[in-house]
Point group: C2
Chain length 98, copies 2
Amino acid sequence: MKYAIHTLNKAFDNRVRLGVMAVLMTTDSVSFNDLKEALDLTDGNLASHVSALEKAGYVTVSKQFVGKKPNTTYTASSEGKLAFQDHLNALEKLLKGG
Amino acid sequence: MKYAIHTLNKAFDNRVRLGVMAVLMTTDSVSFNDLKEALDLTDGNLASHVSALEKAGYVTVSKQFVGKKPNTTYTASSEGKLAFQDHLNALEKLLKGG
DNA sequence: TTACCAGCTTTGCAACACAAAGTGCTCTGT
DNA sequence: ACAGAGCACTTTGTGTTGCAAAGCTGGTAA
């Protein structure tokens, strides 16, 4: 059991969730539509994945009105950032032979 | 469509396949049982994932006898190494904001 | 013959991915 | 007032995947 592939976080083993977290690690706050466009996803698909990340406590959702339009934005929680970093570290370690 | 999450290789989007390739990038040739032990997998699970990588042309399988025991070893094909590197590059680019 | 090992393959089931369609709300145009 | 459009989901349906456990095969050992 030298290679610890089981320490990879199940919450991030999907490309969409990976992409969402990658965005949120650098941009701090993104709107639903920007995220949808940045990752080239259907709205249903994005919504379900973000919802999974929210349930895990990794992203927080805030809804407000911008002008007269509803606007949902997402932010990585500090817990989410930590968990994602851990995941990336585990990944890197794995790839370097651990 | 700034973040190219769709260029990630589907063949490597699984932790087991990722682990197999990680091992084969550094060790060149591994036996079934060493791989199974290194990744802590059931034999059926390992066999199916390696078979998937074989079908994709990313690993090659060779069977011989060591003493009187059958022995199966796996090697990454050059195509597999290239594809894996591409995948890692795409991953890194994604994480760096592309 | 009985038992065992290596390496699969099959089975069965639960979880997941995704697109498409539907929902409820609000605003805009006529 | 009514139609249409946009936002952000939620639901539905379908196909795919992940996995453990069990079965299988072909060889060896006693």
